[in-house]
């Protein structure tokens, strides 16, 4: 059961791969299962690598969108795979 409705945001804009995923994983470690986390990234690889990371870790991607030109937002719900 989670009380979080608005996802917390990890701002990884301007960081090159794999740093957006590293920052997101570090933030995920601090939070309980069921939390929503959103990452903002400008590196094109993050669009592919955040979902791949989520799959490997047992999290679920609940949304992905280009929120501004060249800025991708991917939201994940942390699952039991979170450490």
């Amino acid at each position: 059961m989670s009380e979080v409705t608005e996802p917390e945001t990890v701002d990884a804009r301007g960081l090159r791969c794999p740093l957006p995923v590293v920052r997101l994983a570090a933030a995920a470690r601090e939070r309980p299962d069921g939390s929503l986390l959103r990452v903002l990234a400008t590196d094109p690889a993050a669009r592919h690598d955040v979902p791949a990371w989520a799959r490997m870790r047992g999290h679920v991607v609940v949304g992905a969108a280009e929120v501004a030109t060249g800025v991708w937002a991917v939201t994940v719900r942390l699952g039991p795979g979170a450490r």
Partner: protein, 378 residues
Amino acid sequence: MRTHLDNGGDAPLHPAARAAYLRALDDGWADPRRLHAEGRRAAVLLGAARESLAASLGARTEEVHLAASHTAALHAGVLAVRTGRRRRGPVVVLPRIERAAVRHAAELALPGVEPRTELVDVDRAGRVDAEAMAAALALPGVALACLQQANGEVGTCQPLARVAEAARAASVPLLVDAGAALGHVPAPAAWDLLAADPADWGGPRGVGVLAVRSRVRWGRSWPQDPEPWFPGGVSVPAAFAAAASLEAVTADRQAEDERRRALVARVRASVARIPDTEVVGDPQDRLPHVVTFSFLYVDGEALVTELDRAGFGVGSGSACTASTLEPSHVLAAMGVLTHGNVRIALDRTTSEDDVDRFLAELPRAVARVRSMLGAEGL
């Protein structure tokens, strides 16, 4: 001591290629179109090369054309069929993981033809959905279908027989890109155009192969020349060496297949023991010599550099290792991790000892890069 494990696309020159090349430099330096004795001698070598390549491909000699590179062969094959069949329609059907050369030739604007591509998805193993490919082939206005025999980045073999059957049923010519496969697996049985890359099997650079069945309707989108497919002709020594090396690698293919598959299996098993690793590509139905994996929280460029410093040359599909910021379109289409990617392709000269030393170094290199990024314990 250097250990080169990046032999996909550019393998070291096979001894048979070197011997044939040197012989053809002496005997085949002249213009094969001239009528004097020197020209005729070059023409004999070029004819022998085409005849030998045709036999290896299961083609007729007059169906084999020689380009200056694999890229040029793919460009010409796609453009010629699009031009010849422009009244039938503008659409090229291809999987998302075809080589950039195929994709770019399919997307090029031609006089009077607005380019259109139908991109077909692949699964997590990198195999195209054969039924989706068949459905796309049945759409109206399809000029050409393209499919790799196997993907050179991840090694996965493609469902060629099923797609060839669907192409035949739809009366659409099929271009098979055997660039990463020929020399390592048997030549494909069903195709209308077939492209192959001598540099990949240990032949010389500077030559590409395009076989075109005589039934295929095609047209030039380039200037006319006595050599209709590849204006200016090809290097006779390169062509002769390409044919000789293909014969040589075909002769011991079975033994090399078993040896390299065993080494690849050892790599897959060993790499999977490194934490947070994804070994990609189909585990069984694959090329015998290519193996690809990605490490979570690893910078591909840093890892390639670390391994290089330790004496190992490897390839990578990670964005940070390419000239563009975009990661490998193959890994992206498969939905696997694109960062921290390493691709190795084993040559015939790669030994068990080479592989074991690499496998001993790899976990240390991965740990060093993760530690640099502050990614330990994530």
